[in-house]
Symmetry: C2
Subunit: 327 residues, 2 copies
């Protein structure tokens, strides 16, 4: 074992339901992984206490095992201004809007702190340890409650002039479409975000009297994960919802491909698990219409890192800071 094998970064993935953290090595292995359930509505003091506890736990563990810590990487929901490390907006966490997260983290540890938006952290994970490793230029999309995005360009993360790049969910795909909380009309997220999918599934279940697995669930209890699972099981309503979603997503991807000509597009997030019922429509929409090179169809593939992706990616922020600062 040479010295490099002893180097670790603390990787912390702050998610909507849990903090997942561990000691991340340069080959992507994670020691001391832990998943701590949190209440995302309990406020910022509570969240900071939980983050401090994980940093302390992992710092002690590294010392115990003779590992050399080089930094702390944190992936957090929300738009994060790079120059200040402030969370600009984070609609799903109470007390996280306009919050000086980096300043708070810096006080928790003597180690250098690297903070990024959770989708950017996940993209770093895919770049160093996952499906993105073979590509210098790729777009990552995460399909969850919202639609997240991240860009890897020239072999490194690109987060824009101020750290806000990647808001793929707020591409305008129908200028006269429904209003979006961002202040605009017809954003992609209004068509393919979880609330839109659940609403659409309920509408179809009311209109069409069908007997698939989805029809067995109380309409109030339908979630996007259940739509994905039901579609994989052949449920016609779930498939119809995903087909519509796939077409809208395909339209946004055509614009992205024409502007960015990426090596590939990685799709992650819960609903991506639906597999072919979603991906077939996306690929068909894009394949018919994107302009990219005559001989080439841009691969649209599933992100490969599992539930530890965010942790590994957060660690990667600290292991390869030169690949993250795009300013």
């Amino acid at each position: 074992m040479n010295d490099d094998d002893l180097i670790r970064a603390i990787g912390i993935d702050l998610g909507g339901s849990a903090i997942k953290s561990g000691l991340v090595s340069s080959n992507g292995s994670i020691n001391g992984f832990s998943r701590v359930t949190i209440d995302r509505m309990a406020g910022s003091e509570y969240l900071l206490e939980n983050l401090q506890a994980e940093i302390d736990r992992l710092t002690a563990l590294a010392e115990e095992r003779g590992l050399q810590l080089i930094g702390v990487g944190v992936g957090s929901p929300g738009s994060i201004e790079r120059s200040t490390g402030r969370i600009h907006k984070s609609p799903n966490f109470r007390g996280w809007d306009d919050f000086p997260l980096r300043d708070k983290l810096v006080k928790m540890t003597p180690l250098p702190v690297y903070l990024a938006n959770d989708v950017n952290a996940a993209a770093m994970g895919e770049l160093k340890f996952g499906a993105g490793g073979d590509f210098r230029n790729f777009i990552m999309i995460t399909l969850g409650t919202g639609v997240g995005g991240a860009l890897v360009i020239h072999g490194r993360l690109y987060d824009g002039a101020e750290g806000f790049a990647g808001e793929i969910g707020h591409m305008v795909i129908a200028p006269d479409g429904p209003e979006c909380p961002c202040g605009n009309n017809g954003c992609l997220e209004q068509f393919v975000g979880a609330p839109a999918l659940v609403r659409r599934a309920r509408e179809l279940l009311e209109k069409i009297d069908l007997t698939g697995p989805l029809a067995q669930i109380d309409p109030e209890e339908i979630t996007v994960e259940e739509i994905g699972l039901a579609a994989a099981d052949g449920d016609p309503v779930a498939r119809a919802v995903l087909a519509e979603m796939g077409r809208w997503l395909g339209i946004a991807l055509i614009s992205l491909i024409n502007v960015l000509d990426p090596d590939c597009i990685l799709v992650g997030g819960g609903i991506a698990q639906a597999g072919p019922p979603l991906f077939d429509v996306i690929r068909r929409t894009v394949g018919n219409h994107a302009m990219s090179g005559a001989a080439r169809v841009v691969p649209i593939i599933t992100a490969t890192l599992g539930p530890r992706a965010g942790t590994a990616g957060a660690g990667a922020l600290a292991l390869w800071p030169e690949l993250t600062a795009s300013g």
Copy 2:
């Protein structure tokens, strides 16, 4: 004068009506500038002969003046595949589709040859000599017959996986909109390209009985340049056309800003000369709706290099090849 002051690149801007070429220095000055009118429908052999003549003329001139040539940079219309140097598509030039331009150029000179799409060359010019010099990440848009685009990211040109990035004119802004020759529906170019603007001006002139300068022109003779000039003179029809155009362009820019969070957006091309009647609407549309950092409005500014921009930019391709290969 030190040795660096003697270094020049041959810069050649192949445009729809002329070849503009000269010897470009690292501060952007051009020696021996020449504008040779060409017939874009006369075919590839004719174009190659004209390119050869300019390369020969400038090579001789450099020798005569004791200047050291380090390469030939050429900006050409069309999508250009980086790996092969083939023009993939070039709708406005006869004989230029699927044409091995780089192979042909390499046979014309012993100097290294650098080939790029004309908008990418212009963006290199703005980056090194023009309005882009203060920015590491910017989007360039050219408004002409078509809508061209180029991206500078991380301080250098980004042309995508295969060289096709920047097709901003083929962002989908209205999925149920008019068909585009690219095979898609509702591309930006269908709303803001020259043919669309001229058509719209004629429609409005028929419907509305007005007496502005534009109404004095034979409708068949209206060009996009005249619309721009008339708008600057206060013509109500021209202003209405530009207001509609500005709104569509603004919608596309919102998507681009939300995805790329650029330092600025440079707008070039003939119609950009219309000034406030166009820019005010674009800025208003974008300012109301783009999500970028709370405190910041992305500057939307006119490209500053004049009619020699393409020549200077083509020279820049050869002077700074490390800033152009994004692959």
